[in-house]
Symmetry: C2
Subunit: 258 residues, 2 copies
């Protein structure tokens, strides 16, 4: 079984032109089938401010109304995605930009309203691998932004970490899939202020302890839930760390184990 | 040789939600390989106004500076393209959105500066059919916005009519290609105020007469130059008219002949 790498990059790379340039150079050299998933960074908030569109928050979480969905579609699928694709082409990596609507790749449904109506936020229902597999087999690299659709013409804002894990899971029947979450730290840290205090292995057992001790909290919780979700659904390898973990074997990072 | 239809729609359809919905329903039912090319409509100007970005004109033509290119990339490749793709999926047409950077499909160079520097405007150099052909053979419909790239990481604003004709020409070695320009009139009109006065056939001979008589002028000139360029480069059929010409055989339209 061939290996497929699904690699997610976040705002810290997207928002830093030099870092993005450097990452895409390295990414282009990775051999074999690969998929890139990118977050949005601060550009969407900047555009919303420029356009005078109010950023609506409830309990600290952003609500995606119709105007916000338009902004996200413009920034994520337009500006960021197309610039990444153009830069990959410049590095001889034949990329095609994707939202979940393209090739009907990722189908989602509107997040059910319980206490809060998040608006146009989609929870993933299904990954369709057919068209993507044809492209991967033709040495084409899909580049995903964090937008999905409902097969009825509606686009949805969807968490980029979730898109990465669902793609890795969806392809696990065809490839030996590896999932890499790149962010600004060397991995999950024992001490948030010490970038060398990487917890190199997390399994379902020490995970509980780390949560109870408050070492894993806040934004790391949903990220690690995505990791365990992937590992439990036949993804072969899940890693969290700086992008350098992809390019240099002796870069510290966290590996998630079953 | 199989027939490939390349169909271009302009602002009059993009800007009218009902018209776009109706068009995409009909387009989805067209059998065989097909490519959709869409213009931008008024949304880019609207966004520029909202963002306070000045629209720079020289001799009546828009100059694409870096801010304008960003806006065009957001609106054309983001909002318009992804909404069209999602609506085609809702009509069981498996579409993938493309700029010229995606799949390295359309390579251009910055328009040379003579009297005017148009900024980030690209003239098409080459169409790469390889990746697109794989998709067409897998019943996938590429949907192109009017953006190209230079293979060095730079995106360019490019005329949508030109993109359509260059795609039709590029595929003429593989398919029997047909090129359809859909706009708000029934075709080239003898009398601009009479939508029934369609000139049903234009060839290189009566074309000159029509120009000399001032019947073909202004915006119709570059459109017809694209048509003749296509016909001279092995495109099998070139038509101009309302979208209905695609769906109903007895709809009046203009056909361009060698």
């Amino acid at each position: 079984m061939q290996t497929l790498k699904v690699i997610k990059i976040g705002g810290n790379i997207i928002d830093d032109e030099q870092a993005l340039h450097h990452f895409l150079e390295g990414f282009s050299k990775i051999k074999g089938p690969k998929i890139l998933v990118h977050g949005g960074g601060k550009l969407a908030t900047k555009l919303a401010n420029q356009m005078g569109v109010e950023v609506k928050m409830t309990n600290g979480r952003r609500i995606t109304d119709a105007d916000t969905l338009d902004i996200i579609t413009m920034v994520y699928a337009g500006k960021i995605n197309k610039n990444i694709v153009a830069k990959l082409q410049a590095n001889q990596c034949n990329a095609i930009g994707f939202s979940g609507a393209d090739g009907n790749a990722i189908v989602s449904e509107k997040r059910p309203v319980k206490d809060i109506d998040y608006g146009f936020v989609g929870d993933v229902l299904k990954v369709n691998t057919n068209t993507l597999e044809v492209l991967l087999n033709n040495q084409v690299t899909p580049v995903f932004c964090a937008i999905t659709h409902d097969e009825n013409g509606q686009l949805f804002n969807t968490n980029a970490d979730t898109i990465a894990s669902e793609l890795a899971i969806g392809f696990a029947k065809i490839f030996k899939t590896e999932l890499y979450y790149c962010f600004e730290k060397n991995g999950v840290l024992q001490n948030v202020n010490d970038d060398d205090s990487v917890i190199e292995n997390i399994n379902s057992e020490n995970y509980k302890t780390l949560i109870n001790e408050g070492i894993i909290a806040d934004g790391m919780l949903p990220k690690l839930n995505n990791c365990f979700h992937a590992i439990k659904h036949n993804v072969h390898k899940v890693c969290i760390g700086k992008p350098e973990m992809l390019f240099s074997l002796n870069t510290k990072h966290t590996t998630i184990q079953a």
